[in-house]
Symmetry: C2
Subunit: 184 residues, 2 copies
Amino acid sequence: MTLFWKKGYHATSLKDLEAALNMKPGSIYAAFSSKEGLFLEALARYYETSRGAFAAEMAKAGSPLEGVAQHLRSYADIPTDHPRAQACMLLKTLVDTRATEPAIAEKSREYLSGMRDAMTEVFERAIAAGELPEDTDPQRLARRLQACIMALRFELHQGTGEADLSALAEDMAQEFERLRKVST
Amino acid sequence: MTLFWKKGYHATSLKDLEAALNMKPGSIYAAFSSKEGLFLEALARYYETSRGAFAAEMAKAGSPLEGVAQHLRSYADIPTDHPRAQACMLLKTLVDTRATEPAIAEKSREYLSGMRDAMTEVFERAIAAGELPEDTDPQRLARRLQACIMALRFELHQGTGEADLSALAEDMAQEFERLRKVST
DNA sequence: TCGCGCATTGAGCAATCACTCAAAGACACC
DNA sequence: GGTGTCTTTGAGTGATTGCTCAATGCGCGA
């Protein structure tokens, strides 16, 4: 997964995979049936761990909106040489495969939508808890949050310095905090 | 340029390029010396026309901040089947080549920084015109604007429907309009 | 110890990759 | 028409691609 994430589907060769998995081609094909099959399993693993980690982070937070703001700010703390300091694998994959590998691209879209669902739930909880007004559209906010996360991760990918990155994360976090209903 | 933009550096083969340019391999190498050379020229063209178009759009707008908001909203009007209805070529390139083609990745970063400079100028004009407070940081706003544009274009890439897209663009546009200094 | 079922091996497949170069063609000037 | 210069041509280069399969190794019950 790490290798595919770093190099992308097209730029990763079977030679690379043999070395990374310490398996010979025959074994790889016995287990995954094709490069595409192996990639799809790596992508599924990425999706599941990402979604799980997001849910866990939200559960730990003091409130839904606090969790969102905290999550956005957390991207500023990732060191530039960390393996997570690059674009979201779902974004990379969709960009890499949309024109050439429709099956993989479709899965990416599906997973992106799944992540958005997890975000929608957070905003629904915020509404239920009275943190956001009743007439808030949670799906719309989820898309906005996802847009922020994609952009932040792409900044990581670019290698943007910590100061600029935390300024951007701060702006985004405040954008969501400003939505908080003034307690009545 | 269109072909490279659509398929990316790795997924575009010389065969594809021969067909698109209607040139035989020999002529291509006489003119561009390598696939990388040809790609870099395509990327330079993308950068120059993008930057030019952005500057022209800003010049036409009633005020700097109006221009920014209008530009963001304009992404919602791009039809899904349009060639521009995909991620920014600079983003795609950086994502595609960071791990494998350092020279190309570096050029992408340079161009992204150049685009950000153009955006910084717009916010500087907004400050000079009294549209934004004197203590505003134009570079910080530029990075925020670029983040929004990257995210919007990636939504286009995903194939997000017009309704969701214009809702997102609207949220982003208002975010910048809200910065406007209340006239004193 | 033997035989059986299953996983692993890695040389090698056809296809494709980016790229080269000797030969033919195109064009301007006299 | 002839000559010199520059461009275009496309078959062919070796390397690499994703992938196959007969041969071998291994673990386990009898």
